[in-house]
Amino acid sequence: MVINVRHGWNVSGPQFAAAKAATARSVRMVAVLGADYPNIRPRFQVVQGDHVRTGQILFQDRRRPAVAITSPATGVVRELSIGRRRMLDRLVIEVAEDEFVSFASEIGHDEQMLRRLLLRSGAWASFRTRPFSRIPSPDDTAAAIFVTATEPEPFQDIPQAFAETHEEQLHLGLNALMQLTEGPVFFCHNESFRPHFHKERIRACAFAGPYPAALPGTHIHHLMPVSSSRTVWHIGYQDVVAIGSLLHSGRMWPHRVIGFTDNVSGVSNAFNVRAGCSLHDLVEDQNGSGGYLASGDVVAGRKSEFLGRYHYQAFRGRLNRTDPASGILASLFNRFPAAPPGAVVPLESLDNALPADIPVIPLIRALACNDVETAEQLGCLELAEDDVALLSSICPSRADHASLLRLALEELESKRR
């Protein structure tokens, strides 16, 4: 099945040749970032200066102690900083030779043992729910699980190459996902990638189109739209391989293949790195001035010195940010200063930023005045921060629609409890 996504557009940047192999990079520092776990109130199991092993529990969620976050590397905890509201800011580990915590004794065949294994090894945190985009509770069930094996341009071909080299682990991981849900497991992939699964409940589905075609929110919207009564989970393809690898070897699999776009020097590369790696280690010209490091894709990424938990892309952006669009009009506009933020003007070009049956302007207005009831009726439960990033990038109001959406979602979530 191929689904053509019609909304959205691509953001131009340096091209990446599909034939390029990922280069392995050793990293000196890795970090676990609080920004990835906004609703986890941590109870730390380590302190600064401790030596931790790969797969060792770093902290647990106070509200749900079974949900644990584990270390992606072996080494010494160099920095443990607490941010606002006693949440984690970041936990930095200096990488040494790997010593793995073994989970081999906990591998079992029934669902309960699988859940326990995923929770103990930290792999549980790779699932996120939609609506609300949170780590699911240990006893939650999903109506379906979505595997996101798509990447925004220019790295759209990385998932296929990755899946081909890790085929065995991928199948093991997908079988594990089938145990976690009664419903289907959707494997959402790129159009050229034609994976074959000989299981009825694993459904491969291709997505073609511009940028939003790679987002889990788009996949869920087209295949099984969520509502207040239906929750699905989504997980990245590399995390599925990590689960497969865990079941295979009994060890945490801490690697990532990421696409790195350097907008300053104008090159794109694929790197084989460790989860949570320091992005400084990926930049070619260390002394190159200008630019900031960010984790995530070029549209929805956030400024960060380390790779985020859920990101398979990172980039270095230019500080004097110009219009990402190309063309005569864009180059003309870039010569003039930008206006101060103003009110939303309901331009037709904004309509294209969200899926067709979510009316953009009424949703923006509802979010801006925190009218959560209207926002829910208009379909904000289907969205997460990365879905509205494209909208924020062109909206004349320059409002941070992602934060406004999160406020509304938090209020809806608290009403639900």
């Binding site: 790129n190 990402p324 506009f333 930008a338 101060p340 103003g342």
Partner: protein, 278 residues
């Protein structure tokens, strides 16, 4: 590997991929609209007598003065939307209104339809439409529309630019055209389509009816709004004969007033569909 490489080239053209969008802001919107107004203003000024330039300068001065006064008293940044208001008003009202009449009508439109709401994006009516409506009521039988094929063509050129920028909505313009035709056919006045010089209708459709602030703001709502304004325009045109400006101004005014209601209905229908889907 070949297949993968060919995919990258293929994906770009697969299906409908809309052009990339610009980072819009108020100055850019105003600038693009002013560019769209440039050909039509040039055509008008070339044909108009030389003293008409005084009217244009006065319109610009009046709009600037009010915007400057509000920006100063509210300690806000200056907006440039007044250029668009002055130009569109001048092109439709210069013939037939004396300078003091223009000033009063324009002041009323700018202040009461634009500035007291807070400027661009916070209003729901186009200030030019309100100013024209005021002029039509207060000084009846004086407005005559600019005529000519070149005027219409220049307005079309401006419309193409606004459509390319996706400031004007193609849904509104298509709906408006369909509504006009539908209305004229329904009342059996198809002779209007050929006989009437349609320059002013094209101009008003592009710059007044399809003004994003005054139009509906949902895709379906834009269709409904365009059709509604088109049908009312056709009815008023056939009833009023020569009074084209009057017909389109009141149709737009009515449409703008109903636009929030249209949006509300569309949102309710979408929400209901979402509830049914579960």
């Amino acid at each position: 590997m070949r297949a993968r490489l060919s995919y990258s080239a293929h994906s770009r053209w697969h299906g409908f991929v809309p052009p990339p969008s610009l980072r819009w802001d108020h100055w850019r919107i105003t600038f693009a609209t002013a560019m769209a107004l440039l050909p039509v203003s040039t055509v008008y000024l070339v044909e108009a007598p030389i003293y008409h330039v005084a009217g244009l300068l006065l319109a610009l001065a009046v709009c600037f003065a009010w915007h400057a006064l509000f920006a100063f008293s509210r300690k806000q940044a200056m907006q440039w939307q007044w250029i668009i208001t002055a130009l569109t008003f001048y092109l439709l009202a210069a013939d037939g209104l004396s300078l003091w009449q223009q000033s009063i009508a324009l002041s009323l439109g700018v202040v009461f339809a634009d500035l007291i709401f807070g400027g661009l994006g916070r209003t729901f009516l186009n200030p030019t439409v309100v100013a024209l409506a005021f002029a039509i009521y207060s000084f009846p039988n004086t407005l005559t529309a600019p005529q000519g094929v070149f005027f219409a063509l220049a307005a079309v050129a401006g419309g193409v630019l606004l459509l390319y920028c996706r400031i004007a909505s193609w849904r509104v313009l298509t709906g408006f055209s369909a509504g006009c035709l539908l209305g004229l056919v329904a009342i059996g006045r198809t002779d209007f389509i050929l006989v009437q010089p349609l320059g002013v209708v094209v101009f008003a459709a592009v710059f007044l009816v399809a003004d994003p602030v005054a139009a509906a703001s949902t895709p379906t709502g834009r269709w409904a709004y365009g059709l509604f304004v088109g049908i009312i325009t056709a009815l008023l045109l056939s009833a009023g004969g020569e009074k084209q400006v009057q017909a389109i101004v009141f149709a737009t005014l009515l449409g703008s007033v109903f636009a929030p209601l249209i949006d509300q209905v569309v949102c309710r229908l979408l929400a209901r569909r979402r509830r049914w889907r579960g």
